[in-house]
């Protein structure tokens, strides 16, 4: 990581501290902001958050490792989550997943070579009445067919 990048990240995290405060109870929202922007929370970011909140870096790491939506390793630029819970399963989740796997040439849980997509399963997205459902980043898509799901991915930049 370049020094300029480090400085930029430090400044960014300081701005989150300004927004959410420097109490430990701000941690979840700060991590969420970093995750949203960088798609992962790097070791350096963890140390900076820990320093500014005055806690040990391992405390930050332990929270990251607990939550499914936070991760310390980089992922693809776009995160695709497909609901795997029973209601979506019954409406044809498997076929949607297989179509995406074929089209992107990866298995679920993997990232494409061009780093464009990471595809994962998610537990219940709360869209059971409109399954199968998937989320691309923070937007959700419902009533999918294998064809429709692939078409939606092709529109992502």
């Amino acid at each position: 990581m370049l020094v300029v990048e480090k400085n930029a990240l430090s400044e960014e995290i300081e701005s989150y501290i300004e927004k959410y405060g420097n109490d430990r109870s701000a941690l979840l929202m700060i991590l969420h902001e970093i995750q949203k922007k960088h798609r992962h929370i790097s070791e350096f970011a963890q140390q900076e958050v820990a320093r500014l909140l005055n806690i040990h870096p391992v405390e930050v790491y332990s929270v990251i490792s607990f939550f499914a939506f936070l991760n310390s390793n980089p992922k693809g630029r776009n995160l695709v989550r497909i609901c795997q819970t029973i209601s979506c399963d019954m409406k044809g989740k498997k076929q949607v997943v297989q179509a995406i796997e074929r089209e992107l040439g990866i298995k679920i849980g993997e990232t494409t070579k061009d780093n464009k997509f990471t595809v994962e399963y998610a537990n219940c997205l709360g869209l059971c009445d409109m399954g199968p459902a998937m989320a691309i980043n923070d937007q959700v898509y419902v009533n999918l067919t294998p064809e429709k799901a692939v078409e939606l991915l092709s529109k992502v930049k």
Binding site: A26, V63, F67, L70, I86, D89, N123, C124
Partner: protein, 409 residues
């Protein structure tokens, strides 16, 4: 068909219901509440016999009374919008279409228990609601429904903020939710002490479900007696049911407590259903022979999830999906839940492959009952429910697999 879920906050679909979906104007409950004394609000709630809608069914009036009675400089009211139970999506509908009910209920709660801050713990999966809801809160601040001296009531300052969860089912448990709000891993605490006196940051905290708060808004305006007219004696009012699975019209339905399972199936157009999973993955599986049972705290209690399975569904596959869910979502803090769920899933896989003994399956059922007793929080206490109820109610289908019959895959 539209695939992208667009959020138009406050825009209501044509929904009908006796209580929650009845007529309500934004701010109505706050105005009424501020003209009443705190005790009177608690009496109305007591008359309504409202119980928590998250599933546990603790009387709301008692919770608020205890929080109100606790002495502290600061108190909090938390709206639990971390609905992670498979098959539940009523809170999404409430927040999207009826945010006024939820937020007004929070302000009323803040006034009643003496809190200065309300926190909405929104599940990470609903991130797309964050911005619209924050804009909505900003509108409320402009109209003095939030902020200082609300609606001219001297000394009543209250505000609401939203915190986003990050994809952990266990954080729906109130002490785990509080842990994660405080910036820790979302692992449940030992209880007692309860949040009512030692909650968020060690202060008295009332954690209420989204639907409970929505019901409070109606109760304050229309009275506790009016609310108690609906439903049964032990389960007053109505309930939102999130219906999914094999039926013609999945969606959210408001029905009075005491509605029979068969009546609900008729309303949603579920033909040839053979089983209904009530209360989500951690609930109970009801076979056809028990469809005359009533949805109520005294018979089949539920947080509102109703998943319907028709004649062609493989119940072992359903069970496997549930157990995979629990293995994923167990926080790993206590042993019965961390290891027990893995063992139960292994048992399901053994049955799937036909490599099991009944002696072992019976041991696993016993293990399930041990988990119900020994787990620290509701997750491990309820995760063996589907294992026990599905294997019991569908044993003919499950243990006759591979005989070439309709379900013998």
């Amino acid at each position: 068909m539209q695939n992208h879920l667009e959020v138009k906050l406050g825009e209501k679909k044509d929904r009908k219901g006796p209580v929650i979906f009845s007529e309500y104007k934004r701010g109505e409950a706050i105005k009424k509440a501020l003209s009443m004394s705190r005790e009177d609000i608690l009496f109305e709630l007591k008359d309504s016999k409202l119980k928590g809608r998250g599933g546990a069914g603790f009387p709301t009036s008692t919770k608020w009374m205890l929080t109100a009675a606790a002495k502290a400089e600061k108190k909090f009211i938390i709206c639990n919008a971390d609905e992670g139970e498979p098959g539940t999506f009523k809170d999404r509908v409430l927040l999207m279409e009826y945010p006024e009910l939820v937020f007004d209920g929070m302000v009323v709660g803040g006034y009643t228990i003496g809190a200065q801050l309300g926190i909405v713990y929104l599940r990470g999966e609903y991130e797309y609601l964050l911005k619209p809801l924050e804009d909505y809160l900003e509108e409320m601040r402009k109209d003095n429904l939030l902020g200082k001296n609300i609606l001219g009531k001297e000394g009543f300052d209250f505000d609401i903020e939203i915190v986003l969860g990050s994809g952990a089912y266990v954080c729906g448990e109130e002490t785990a939710l509080i842990e994660s709000l405080e910036g820790h891993r979302g692992e449940p605490r030992n209880r007692p002490p309860y949040p009512i006196n030692t909650g968020f940051l060690g202060r008295p905290t009332s954690v209420n479900n989204v639907e409970t708060l929505a019901a409070v808004s109606h109760i304050v305006v229309k009275g506790g007696k009016w609310f108690a007219k609906f439903g049964t004696d032990k389960s007053s009012g109505s309930k939102l049911f999130s219906v999914s699975g094999d039926c013609e019209k999945p969606g959210v339905y408001e029905l009075p407590w005491g509605t029979k399972v068969s009546e609900l199936l008729k309303i949603v157009g579920a033909k040839n259903a053979k089983a209904v999973q009530i209360g989500g993955a951690s609930g109970h599986c009801i076979p056809k022979s028990q469809f005359d049972r009533a949805l109520a705290y005294e018979d089949v209690p539920t947080g509102g999830s109703v998943m319907i399975f028709n004649e062609n569904r493989d119940m072992l596959h359903v069970l496997k999906n549930f157990m995979e869910f629990f293995v994923d979502e167990s926080c790993g803090q206590c042993t019965p839940c961390r290891i027990g769920n893995v063992k139960l899933l292994e048992g399901v896989e053994m049955i799937e492959k036909g490599q099991y003994t009944f002696a072992h399956i019976n041991k696993l059922k016993e293990l399930g009952r041990t988990m119900q007793l020994a787990s620290k929080c509701g997750l491990g206490q309820s995760s063996p429910n589907p294992f026990i109820s599905i294997l019991e109610n569908f044993k003919d289908e499950i243990f006759n697999r591979g005989n070439g019959g309709r379900n013998g895959r």
